[in-house]
Symmetry: C3
Subunit: 459 residues, 3 copies
């Protein structure tokens, strides 16, 4: 009998780690110049800022809130599709999101926002967005593990996930000087392969014993559509949240909006064509429709052109749906990778493609289209990178994809091995995908397997 | 036996139309001066714009995202109320929304944003909002057809709906020079009558054979409330999204907020008064509470005064609830119009009223209230319209309503006749309102008709 | 047999009060200088405002919409957790919210925005936010009464709740000159104790007769998570919506975001530690995770520091969860307070604590941290309060908490006594928590008590 009692381990992890956060925040984290009252007044005087509307808050806060909704309602509800794991889907997503964003503020702060003179990290609204982004990679990884791990394991996945993210992001954005505003590489590609690698290490040969629970019922599929739609609608905000003020945010939002629309049509087309009477599959509609947003994470801020965005959405909708139809079953059968939500098809693969699309679009940039000043602004060709050509930039962008995958696979393998220790309270093979293991469940479930199966009510 | 196999037709339509979009976008669509990096930098230099916050993105993007939520979550979830057609409600809304907004960018672009020298259409955030608006009319029409048509038919409804919309909008806004920011006339009145006319042409005398499915269950009504509330909350953004910067957007949001509050109380009053024990009907709460937003679509940007807005909400809440109680049954029985969601009561009628309210409020505008400059700004009395009086404006506003209805009825009749061709895979009379026809449905449904009825589980 | 027929009373209350609103709006309410076209154009000329982006609309509208979502979807769906009272939870919340915000515009207007020369109230986006805030207190009170009162009683609760709110807010903010941007004192502490006092007066010794319905089922718990997450995600907007432009809004959002993250971890820790196998309880996750937002309602705009915010969230997550575990059962058994949603643990207690935290943080403010100018801006040390020290300010802040509680208890007692009159159509003791009483319910409910219990279907 496997022990899933987490009464000691889960509270211990939550308490100790949260106290550590408080101590580290106390030592390191301070308000930045736009959120500290003294510094902001000083900044206004020094720079002759006449209006408070120039505060970065007003440029980025609406997008931040959209991103926040994607992280907690989007990812959370997308994972409610299982008939009996909706609590775990939305609830554990909530838990690890809330932990991860704190750890992300620290990790990203050390790498990106540490003031060398004071030794302090300054945070503002852009920092919050980046923390949400950072956490997104771990939530994506959760999608591959959904229903098969304990919340304590998820905390470990997130601790390492955020750490690895901060390092790979530093290498990709700072050392390689890539652009990756919406995180095709650093978020989706990394997060997807990280989760898949962990799932591969944690392979359960007898998972079929939980087969009865590894599927949806009618209303759980409707719940999942809440997640899908909030992700789909707010993806333009996700990709544009930290791009350049002005035309940068504007263009990124447009490109993402367009690409996502295109993904919907090709997803529907493939889903329908793959069933003998043309019936649509909710799994495809819930997931592959989003592939265009993932794949535009790098290129959306470039001048990819509206029809370029449409083409990206067109192709990735097809590829992602084929992934659900053929690649996932193949991976499970032959590669021993059990990917509950199909993050390979929605995040890993479209993210990797998005990285390469970004590389190509960057390499194809011209002064004619961007203007000289525009090229410099878009690609940050300043300081030590002032002489970089767009061709070189494209090469480095492509290299970034490889860095993301390398971190994901190596990091995921290490984390997976740690999670195989028999101390984490993970469920037995015949107990996966079942909220009963970690949640007090009241009243009855919906009937399963064409029969009725009730749980004792508990008022 | 009616053939509902759409395995060929649905993928074909999706693929061919999406490819057509790519080609047309390639030929016509470009970024506008605020989203193109080169043009934006140029614009800043030319016009001495010192801050990126002047980019239209920051004026309109938050409203755009609210509108986007209304289109996909609002309309989508409002249509999940049927016990067994929630997938179709939210899923087909998603499909035709995603197609329609692309086609809308083109159609509206040709009519409103075509640069005659280059032959190109410029798009920015205002274009995205307008595309969402344009699509809304077709989604409203879907409400009248819910459960009775195939997704292929819905694509046709949307193709023609967007086309007709762009033309009637051009006539109403440009030729008649009406103001209709929130689209009482161009969106709700047009969309509602368009859908009703199609439903009339597609009349199914034997629809009672699907009667068992034409209703809600407990949880599907709760899902529908998600749609209702997001529509209700974000309607101030809908009406104000493309109004004038500054006091225009501000006032429009206030007026709409106020009118909607008033509609809720009168809807509750009539709903309760119409049942023998005073019980409320979810159908009324889900729909008629929104009538104030529809009816303020034209007048909200004018100086209608806060109590004027309250009165509009008061009356339309009553009218809309009476519509559900008496007009819908009457229309079904005597006019042979089967209106699944009651779009007549929520969109067509309040939209028409909203158009006339707008006409009256426009005609009553005075320089004393608006100031001369304010009148010019509000009604765009510039260029060839510089000499138009408010009385004339009111007359043209009223004429606009008639144009919207004419396009809806004539266009709807033509589209309805096209949809009667026996090639579209629409469901049989005893198979309407059933997701089984177009979706792979897993697990069990909730019990129906006081009994239990299960579907074979399929993991 | 208790008479729950509200066919006369509910429509009468809705109609009469709505007509009263129209009359009062007609007499008192006008657009403010930023939403009136004439006044705005005048203001721009007078103050040399060069850009419409300076309109307060652009500073506050995105936050307003987030707050609006919290009021209607957040509070509404949080109250859908009961197995058979989801209609009442979300529907009556909608009704009283819509009424309350109108009455709030008037009541708050008379106290805060009445122009003494014209006798008119000016409203703009800040007024709408304040109206939503004001209504929140009555919706919180509803949480304590959920399932045990009629909608007519709720209208009365809201009428008096809004009135009391406006007066206590005037005393706290204007006379005592407290700061309470996110309303720990004026909203949460007041609203919580107001509802608890009413519930105490309306004590039902035989409520156990409805015990079978006073609990959740699987999917109603998932619905409630929609409410929880929208509250949690948008709480930074709630607290920052009416703080100072610039660094004020920015800092408040950051502090709230951080505190909320911390609450999630300690809630999970205590919830897990309190069950013998470490299983989590949805009640805790749905509610106590939000305590950090409540407790930061006063202090979030101060320079509490990021780790200070973490500590607040840490402690209140623990306290709130302990409240659900021990205080609520104690209150029900010994104090005869039946608190359906546990508003004591989520609002009353964390709100009171938040008030005192604000007092301490205010008293600890220094010129070194804020700068002289920053102190004045943050605490409005101007006019007759120019000489107030931070120590005095702290004392007044603490006094504010007492005022809020006094108003809540005395006001709640009076309202409770009024509601005991046998004219309001409230349900019998064995009929509580049941939507059948006030709603037309179609189709079947989910099985209850491990058995099956169906309602006659009604198509």
């Amino acid at each position: 009998m496997i022990n899933t009692n987490i009464r000691i381990s889960l509270p211990a992890v939550c308490f100790v780690w949260q106290i550590a956060m408080i101590v580290l925040f106390g030592v390191f984290i301070r308000y930045d110049a736009e959120s500290d009252i003294r510094l902001w007044l000083q900044l206004k005087h020094t720079n002759n800022i006449t209006s408070d509307i120039e505060n970065d808050f007003y440029f980025r806060y609406p997008s931040f809130q959209d991103v926040h909704v994607m992280i907690f309602v989007g990812f959370g509800f997308l994972m409610t599709f299982l008939k009996r794991y909706s609590f775990g889907g939305v609830g554990f997503n909530f838990l690890i999101g809330a932990f991860g964003l704190q750890w992300a503020l620290l990790m990203q702060g050390w790498f990106h926002a540490l003031d060398p003179t004071t030794g302090k990290i300054s945070i503002g609204v852009e920092g919050l967005i980046n923390a949400d982004f950072c956490v997104a990679a771990s939530l994506i990884a959760y999608g591959a593990l959904l229903g098969k791990v304990s919340p304590v394991q998820l905390m470990v996945v997130t601790l390492f996930g955020v750490t690895l993210f901060a390092v790979e992001e530093y290498i990709i954005l700072n050392l390689l000087h890539c652009r990756d505003a919406g995180g095709s590489m650093v978020i989706h590609c990394f997060g997807g392969y990280y989760g898949l690698t962990i799932s591969w290490i944690l392979y359960r040969p007898k998972l079929h014993q939980s087969k009865r629970l590894n599927g949806s019922v009618y209303h759980s599929d409707v719940f999942a559509m809440i997640g899908t739609l909030f992700l789909w609608m707010f993806w333009p905000s996700f990709n544009s949240a930290i791009t350049d003020h002005g035309s940068g945010q504007h263009r990124t939002a447009i490109n993402t909006y367009i690409a996502l629309a295109s993904s919907v049509l090709t997803t529907v087309a493939i889903s329908s064509a793959s069933e003998k009477r043309g019936k649509l599959d909710m799994v495809h509609i819930q997931n592959a429709t989003l592939a265009g947003g993932v794949a535009m994470g790098t290129a959306a801020e470039f001048m990819i052109t509206p029809y370029g965005a449409l083409i990206v959405g067109f192709c990735t909708g097809i590829i992602s749906t084929f992934g659900y139809l053929f690649v996932s079953p193949f991976m499970e059968k032959y590669l021993k990778i059990q990917d509950t939500c199909g993050v390979h098809n929605l995040h890993a693969l479209p993210g990797m493609l998005g990285g390469f699309i970004g590389a190509i679009v960057a390499a194809a940039a011209t002064e004619e289209v961007y203007s000289r000043e525009g090229l410099i602004e878009t690609f940050d060709f300043e300081g030590e990178f002032a002489d970089r050509t767009v061709g070189t930039q494209g090469g480095f962008q492509a290299a970034g994809v490889c860095v993301a995958i390398a971190f994901a696979v190596v990091g995921g393998a290490v984390v997976g091995l740690i999670l195989r220790l028999p101390i984490w309270g993970d469920p037995a093979d015949d107990n996966c995908f079942d909220d009963e293991v970690y949640w007090e469940v009241r009243g009855a479930f919906l009937p399963l397997d064409g029969g009725l199966q009730f749980f004792k009510s508990k008022d």
